[in-house]
């Protein structure tokens, strides 16, 4: 790696640390609450932010990240681990003959080869609400409006860190035991029940002609022809419609009762909704058939008068 490359790499790392630290500095208001006696989280970690901070540090190989954690949480849950990690990383850095300069992140709390010590770092914390780490940084604040953003790699890393912290923040506001929001599929009155089961198609109903009885027949044969050619087909159409409607409702009931849907409440609800929706159609077919049956008596009551007489 040439000098420019190293410089760019160092600048990138520095910006990453700075961006992350400043972001966390903004979030440092939450640890202030910890100092004010806020009870610990159920997992024993001081606050969700501390946990998020530590998780964001992860298994990184940059001692500045661990130093940033120690700066923010000098007596934190993971402080001993962080100190040991810093010591190990610094030691490793000194044994490798790497000409690249260390990141120029000046954190007063950490010595470049500080051994792991169990005593907390005695860096005074700022009294105000300002970002603690930002105050510890000798570098100017980046990202003023219009200022260039960090490099893509730094942006992705700091973005992931911030995203993790925002997620932790949101989780802290959930009711304990609340799971992920369930978004049930909206089921229309007539729609596929599920990917495995679909509602059967509604039956096609035949048109039933309006039946107008004459005032009289010329003869009994004429009445019979009317019966066979007009009334009977109309009655048959009405009966077929009613039978189809009944069969459809029976089919829905059968699917509803089917063992396959025993645990598919959404499908069962959809079937029940469709059954209710079709009740009106089924009632109409029944009424049409009943009316046609009653018409038979009226047909038989039509008088027979000789042709040529007044009808």
């Amino acid at each position: 790696m040439d000098g420019i490359g190293r410089m760019a790499s160092g600048l990138s790392r520095k910006r990453l640390c700075l961006t992350a630290a400043l972001t966390l500095g903004w979030l440092a208001m939450a640890p202030l609450a910890q100092a004010q006696g806020v009870p610990q989280a159920a997992n024993g970690v001081g606050s969700p932010f501390e946990l998020a901070f530590w998780q964001s540090v992860g298994n990184g190989e940059d001692p500045a990240l661990y130093e940033a954690y120690l700066q923010q949480y000098p007596t934190g849950t993971f402080a001993p681990i962080a100190r040991a990690k810093v010591a190990a990383l610094r030691k490793a850095a000194t044994t490798v003959a790497a000409p690249a300069p260390a990141p120029q992140v000046a954190l007063p709390a950490a010595s470049p080869v500080a051994p792991a010590e169990p005593t907390p770092v005695s860096t005074p914390r700022p009294a105000g609400n300002g970002p603690a780490l930002a105050m510890a940084m000798p570098m100017p604040l980046p990202a003023a409006p219009g200022a260039p953003l960090p490099s893509p790699a730094a942006s992705a890393a700091s973005g992931a860190m911030l995203g993790q912290m925002l997620a932790e923040l949101a989780r802290s506001q959930e009711t304990p035991g609340a799971g992920a929001t369930s978004l049930p599929p909206a089921v229309a009155a007539v729609s596929p029940v599920s990917s495995r089961h679909a509602l059967p198609a509604r039956p096609q109903l035949a048109p039933v002609p309006d039946l107008t009885l004459p005032t009289s027949f010329c003869s009994a044969d004429e009445r019979n022809r009317f019966h066979d050619g007009i009334y009977a087909p109309a009655l048959e159409a009405a009966k077929r419609n009613n039978d189809a409607a009944v069969a459809y409702l029976t089919q829905l009931q059968g699917i509803y009762d089917g063992y396959q849907l025993g645990r598919d409440t959404e499908a069962m609800n959809a079937l029940a909704a469709e059954s209710r929706s079709y009740q009106a159609d089924a009632a109409a077919t029944f009424s049409a058939q009943a009316a046609m049956v009653r018409t038979f008596d009226a047909l038989m009551a039509v008088p027979v008068r000789p042709c040529g007489a007044a009808r």
Partner: protein, 152 residues
């Protein structure tokens, strides 16, 4: 002021990191709308609790909603349409479920100040809609029941 500028830059990096993720969902409109609606509900629940905790962030919350009124309104409309076929009470059941989810969170003064700062950042007239989207996606998990497979 300095905090705001820093957070804006950090949030911009969040946008860059999530842009590709959002474009891969089979139901992106509903997924996005559901998370926006849930985010607004969470912020409202938090603002109400914070008022009781002595940190009144309701004006900031109102400004945030006003800044992104079109976005929040569109999300609400989309979810109403989504639940319309399931009956007139379906959306109410959904909204009640979200309210219950955030009805019992752990809120203290420190958390309230963080939320207030976040709402203030989003309330800025210069706040980019993409930033709101990035924050929403970071804070609100994908609702269950949506078919949003991972990118192959």
């Amino acid at each position: 002021m300095r905090q705001g500028a820093v957070l804006a830059a950090a949030l911009a990096s969040l946008v860059a990191g999530q842009a590709a993720q959002a474009a891969n969902c089979a139901g992106p409109e509903i997924a996005e709308a559901a998370r926006v609606v849930e985010f607004e509900a969470m912020m409202m629940a938090v603002s109400l609790r914070c008022a009781r905790a002595g940190v009144d962030m309701r004006p900031t919350f109102d400004r945030m909603v006003g800044t992104h009124a079109a976005r929040f309104g569109a999300a609400d409309t989309a979810m109403h349409r989504y639940f319309a076929p399931a009956g007139p009470r379906a959306f109410d059941r959904y909204a009640t479920g979200i309210a219950n989810k955030y009805g019992g969170g752990a809120t203290d003064g420190g958390t309230c100040r963080v939320f207030n700062g976040l709402a203030g950042e989003l309330a800025s007239p210069a706040s980019d809609g993409r930033v709101l989207g990035a924050v929403v996606r970071a804070m609100i998990r994908m609702p269950e029941g949506l078919d949003c497979p991972a990118k192959p």
